[in-house]
Amino acid sequence: MQVSEDIRKAKDIIQVILKSRKILRMYPENNPMYINTLQENYGKLKDYFFYKDELTLAIKQNEILYEGEQVYHSAEKEDNFALFFFKDGLREISFKKGLPADELEAFIKIISLDFNRDVMDDDIVTLFWERDFQKIQYVVDELILSDDEEYEEKAVQEVKEKAATDDDILRAYEEAFRETEQVKDASIVPLVDKDLQMLLKELDEDSADKTTKLFDILFEIIHLSENREDYEDLADFFRNAIEFTTGRGDLYLLNVIMGRLHEVAENRDFSEEIRTFARRVMLFAGSEPIITLIGEVLDGGQETDEKVLDDFLKHLERSSIVPFMKILGELKSIHARKFVIDALIFLGNKDIAILAKGLSDTRWYVVRNIIYILRKIGDKRAVDYLLKTVKHGDVRVKKEVIRTLGELGGAGVLQALRDCLDDADAQVRSSALKSLSNMGSEAAKRIILNKINDKPFKAKEFEEKKEFFEAITRWKDDEVYNLLISALKQNVLFGRAKNYEVRACAAFALGFMGRRECLPLLQKYRGDGNKLFREAVVGATRRLEHGQ
C-alpha cells in the first residue's frame, strides 16, 4: 500500500468510526442501522489489516495523526474527536491485526457514551482499562492525574536531604559486628490447600451486597452522635442509603431497615432525640421519592414477596397516602398496581379524607381504583365523598361508585341509588338495582317495588325488567310473593306483548322465591300460547320442583 493510500484509508476509518459513534448514540442494539454500521467499521479495518499489521493514531489536542500526517482536525471545543481522547490523557491508540468484532464494538460503545454527565464515574481510559482490550492498545499521559506536576521532584529532593552521613552508616557497620543476635530462621508459613479453601469461602462471602453493612454502621453511629448537626448528617445518610437500597430493588432490606428503625423508635431505653430521629427517617421511607422508586421497581417486573411488602406497609404513616395515590395512575403492571391498591387499602384507613381527594383525579381509572379502595376499607365516612362522584362522567366510575355506595349504605345513598335507576345508561341502572338489592333494607325494597309498579316499567326492555324481578326476590316475603302472583296472573287487552314480558319475569322470579305453593298456578300456564311466558313458567316450575 502506498503511504498516501494508507493515509486515505486511515482518514476513512476515522470517519466511519465517527459515523458509528453517532448511530450507536441514536439506535438500539437490535436496529439494522446499528448492526450495519458496526459491520462497515469492521470491514474497513479488516481491509486495512490485509496490508498492514497495525493502525496507530497519535492524538493531539485538535488533531489526529497517522504516520505524522494529519487525518483528523477540529478546532471545536464541543464536538472535537481528538480533544475527546486528549482531555483524558490519551495520546495514542493502536488497533492491531486480528481485532475481533466484539472488541471493536466495545470500543465504539465506549466512545459513544456521554461523558459529560455527572453520574458517569468513569472516564474513557478507565472504561478502556476495565474492558482489558487485547487488540486495541493505547498510550496515556499520566501527568494529567497529578495535581502538582513538580510534586515528585520536590518530594524526592526533600527526602534525599535527610540522607544519612557516612559516619552514621559506618557506625551501623561497626555495630553489626557487635550484635550477637543472629537472624532467626525464616518464619514464613507456606500456604496450603486449606488456606485457599478458606480464602475462597471469604471471597464468596465478600461478593454479597454491602448495603446491609453500611446500615449496620449507620445504626451504630446513631449512638455515637453527639449533637444536632450529627443527627442532621446522619439523617441524610440514612435517606441516601434508603433511596439507594430502594432504587436497587432491595425491598427486603428496606423492610428490614424499617423494622430496625421501628425498634429504635419504640425503645424507651434510648433518648427521645434518638427515637425522634428514627421516626423522622421512617417518615422519609414513606415519602414520595421512595414510594415512586418502589413503584418503578415493581413496575419493572421484579417479583417481591407479598409478606415483605405487607410488613413494609405496617411501618408507614398516613403521609404515604398521597405518594401512593400519585403513582397509582402511572403504573403499568397489574402486580405493581395491586400492591399500591393494597397499600392504600391499608393506609387509607388512617385518613379517609386524604384518600378521598383521589376521587378528583382527572383519570377515570384512578378514580375507579380509589372508589374500590374506599369500598375495601368499608368506612362509612367515605360515603359523603362518594356521593359526589355518582355524577361522574365515566360509566365505569359510576358503576363502581354505585356498587360501593350499595355496600357502604348510609344517609343519602338510597336517594342517590334511586336517581341512578332513572339514569340514561342501562349499565348504571343495572348497577344501582343490584346495589339496592344487596342493601336488602325495607327502604331499598320499596324503591324497587315502586319502580316495578310504575307505569313506564312495562315499557322497559325485557332483560331490564327481568333484572328488576330478580332483584326483588332478594326479599322473600309475602308482599313480594303477592306482587309476583298478581303480575303472573295479569291479563290485558292492549299491549299484550309487553304484558307477557312482565308475566314471564314474574314467573322467572317465582322460581327464585322457593315457595312451592305457587306450583299449581304455574302448572296452569305450562301450556300457554306465548312462548316467552311458557318457557319462563316451565323453568320456574322445574326450579321449584327440584328445590334449586
Binding site: P100, E130, S146, D148, V156, A164, A172, E202, D216, H223
Partner: protein
C-alpha cells in the same frame, strides 16, 4: 480468531501449565510408569497435541514469575495458584526457562522429560542434566532461564516512581479539596489507582519498594498511598480481579480520611497523647464515614470506603475502636487494609506510638497479633507477600557486607535481592544489587543474611538508594 477462541486458547494454555505442574508433583511420589502418572501424562499429551494441531510449536516459558504460552502471558485464578507457584519454583530451581513442544508428542517423550526433571532436582547443574537427557527426544526441548537484565530496570523504576508520586500528589489534592468543601473528581481517583494496579501486576516489587521509603514530610498522604499499594499487592495475592483491586485501592486511599478533622496540633504532637486527645483520635473512623458519605452520590465504592473508614481500627476480635453496641463481621477489605495500615504505620515514624520499627520487626509483631488484632489467614498471605525480610530491611551478610533489602524473593523468602551499601572492606558503596539466591561454583549460596538491623537507628535513608 475471534475472542471466544482467544478465551478458549487461554483456558487450554492455563490448564496445560496446571497439568504439567500436576504431572511433576505426582511424579515426585510415583514413578512416571505408574498408572496414576500415566493417566495424567495422557491428559497432558492430549492438551499439547490439541494445540499443536494449530501451531507448529508450543513453548511454555517462564518470564519473571509468570508463564507464557507462545508469548501470551497466562493469567490464572486462585484455584491454580498453588500449582502455578509450585511449577515456578521448580523451574527456577533447575534454571529451566522454557519447554518447547513440536511435531507430535508421545507418552514416552513426556516420561523421559519428567524423569529428567525429577532427577535434576539433586543435580549440581540441573538445567544441563535435563538438556542431556532430552537429546534423543525430538518432540521436546528446553531453554535456560533468562534472567531479567538489570540495565533495563531503569525505565520501569522511573514509571513506578511517577505512578507513586502522582498518587501521593492526587491524594494530597483530594484531601485538601474535601477539607475546603470542593467537589472531588472520582474519575481521577480511579485512574490513579488503575495505574497502581497495573504496576502491581507488572512491577510489584518496585512499587512495594516505594512504600518502604518513609522520610517524607507529608506523612498522611504517603501513608494513604502506601496503604493502597500494600492492599492492592495483597489483594492480587488473594486473587482479586483488576476491578476489585481498583476498588480496594481507592477504598484504601480514603481509609484515613477522617483524620483530616483531627486538629493539626494533636495530629502532629511530638509527645504521647493525653486521654482527651485519644478521645478525639478515636473519633476519626466516624468522621471518615461522614466525609465519604458527603463526598458524592452513594455507590458501591463509596459504601465500601465508608465501611473501611469505620472499621480500619477495629481488631479481628472486634476490640479496638469505635466500640460497637452490636457485633459486626469485619469487612474483607477492612481486614486487608488493617494489615497494610498497621504495617506501614509501624514502619513509619509519624504514628501514635512514635517508635518506627524496622520492617522485619514490624512483621514479627504483626504475627504475634494474629487472631486477636489481625486476620490470621490474610496475615499469612501478607507475610508471604512482603517476605521474611521486607524491602528496606537492613541486613548484615556472612560476607561482611551491609545492605538493604531491595526486592523480595517470592520463592526463597530468606534470599531476597539486596543492595550493598558497605562492602566487605568496610567501604561505603552505592548501587550494587546482589541476589542472595545465587550460588557460587561450589553450589552453595554466595551470600546469606546473618542478622538484621534497624535502619532508623542509624538514620539510613532508603530514598537515597531506592529513588
Amino acid at each position: 480468531m475471534d475472542s471466544n477462541e482467544d478465551i478458549a486458547v487461554n483456558r487450554i494454555s492455563k490448564e496445560l501449565v496446571n497439568q504439567i505442574s500436576v504431572v511433576i508433583r505426582t511424579s515426585q511420589i510415583h514413578d512416571p510408569n505408574n498408572v496414576a502418572v500415566s493417566a495424567l501424562i495422557d491428559k497432558m499429551i492430549s492438551m499439547i497435541n490439541g494445540l499443536l494441531a494449530y501451531e507448529q510449536m508450543i513453548s511454555i516459558e517462564l518470564r519473571g514469575d509468570f508463564f507464557y504460552v507462545n508469548d501470551s502471558r497466562i493469567r490464572y485464578t486462585l484455584e491454580y495458584l498453588l500449582n502455578f507457584e509450585y511449577l515456578v519454583q521448580e523451574f527456577k530451581k533447575r534454571e529451566l526457562g522454557a519447554v518447547l513442544f513440536r511435531g507430535k508428542v508421545a507418552p514416552d517423550d513426556i516420561q523421559v522429560f519428567v524423569r529428567a526433571f525429577i532427577a535434576s532436582g539433586s543435580s549440581q547443574k540441573p538445567f544441563e542434566a535435563i538438556e542431556d537427557k532430552l537429546i534423543t527426544v525430538k518432540s521436546l526441548s528446553v531453554d535456560r532461564l533468562k534472567h531479567i537484565v538489570e540495565k533495563n530496570s531503569f525505565e520501569p523504576r522511573k514509571m513506578v516512581k511517577k505512578t507513586y508520586f502522582n498518587a501521593v500528589s492526587f491524594t494530597k489534592g483530594v484531601i485538601n479539596k474535601i477539607k475546603s468543601g470542593e467537589k472531588v473528581n472520582i474519575r481521577k481517583a480511579k485512574r490513579v489507582v488503575e495505574t497502581m494496579v497495573d504496576q502491581i501486576l507488572e512491577q510489584e516489587q518496585l512499587l512495594l519498594g516505594m512504600t518502604a521509603i518513609k522520610d517524607y514530610d507529608e506523612y498522611t498522604y504517603h501513608h494513604s498511598v502506601n496503604v493502597s499499594v500494600l492492599s492492592i499487592a495483597l489483594g492480587q495475592r488473594l486473587g482479586l480481579n483488576r476491578k476489585l483491586l481498583t476498588e480496594l485501592g481507592i477504598v484504601a486511599i480514603f481509609h484515613d480520611i477522617g483524620k483530616m478533622d483531627i486538629p493539626y496540633d494533636i495530629l502532629n504532637k511530638p509527645t504521647n497523647f493525653t486521654e482527651d486527645e485519644w478521645k478525639i483520635i478515636r473519633k476519626h473512623p466516624v468522621w471518615g464515614v461522614k466525609a465519604l458519605l458527603k463526598l458524592k452520590k452513594l455507590d458501591d465504592v463509596t459504601i465500601r470506603s465508608a465501611i473501611v473508614a469505620f472499621e480500619h481500627h477495629m481488631n479481628f476480635d472486634l476490640t479496638g475502636y469505635p466500640k460497637l453496641r452490636k457485633n459486626l463481621q469485619l469487612d474483607f477489605f477492612s481486614r486487608i487494609i488493617s494489615l497494610a495500615d498497621q504495617y506501614d504505620a509501624m514502619t513509619s515514624s509519624r504514628v501514635y506510638s512514635r517508635i518506627p520499627l524496622s520492617p522485619d520487626k514490624a512483621l514479627s509483631i504483626m504475627m504475634e497479633r494474629a487472631n486477636a488484632q489481625l486476620d490470621p489467614l490474610l496475615l499469612k498471605f501478607f507475610v508471604n507477600m512482603v517476605g521474611v525480610f521486607p524491602i528496606g530491611t537492613m541486613v548484615m551478610l556472612n560476607t561482611k557486607e551491609l545492605g538493604l533489602v531491595y526486592e523480595s524473593n517470592q520463592l526463597f523468602a530468606s534470599r531476597p535481592r539486596v543492595m550493598i551499601i558497605i562492602d566487605k572492606e568496610g567501604r561505603r558503596i552505592k548501587g550494587t544489587v546482589v541476589d542472595l539466591a545465587e550460588k557460587n561454583d561450589q553450589g552453595t549460596f554466595a551470600r546469606t543474611i546473618v542478622r538484621t538491623m534497624d535502619p532508623n537507628k542509624y538514620k539510613i535513608n532508603l530514598a537515597e538508594y531506592l529513588l
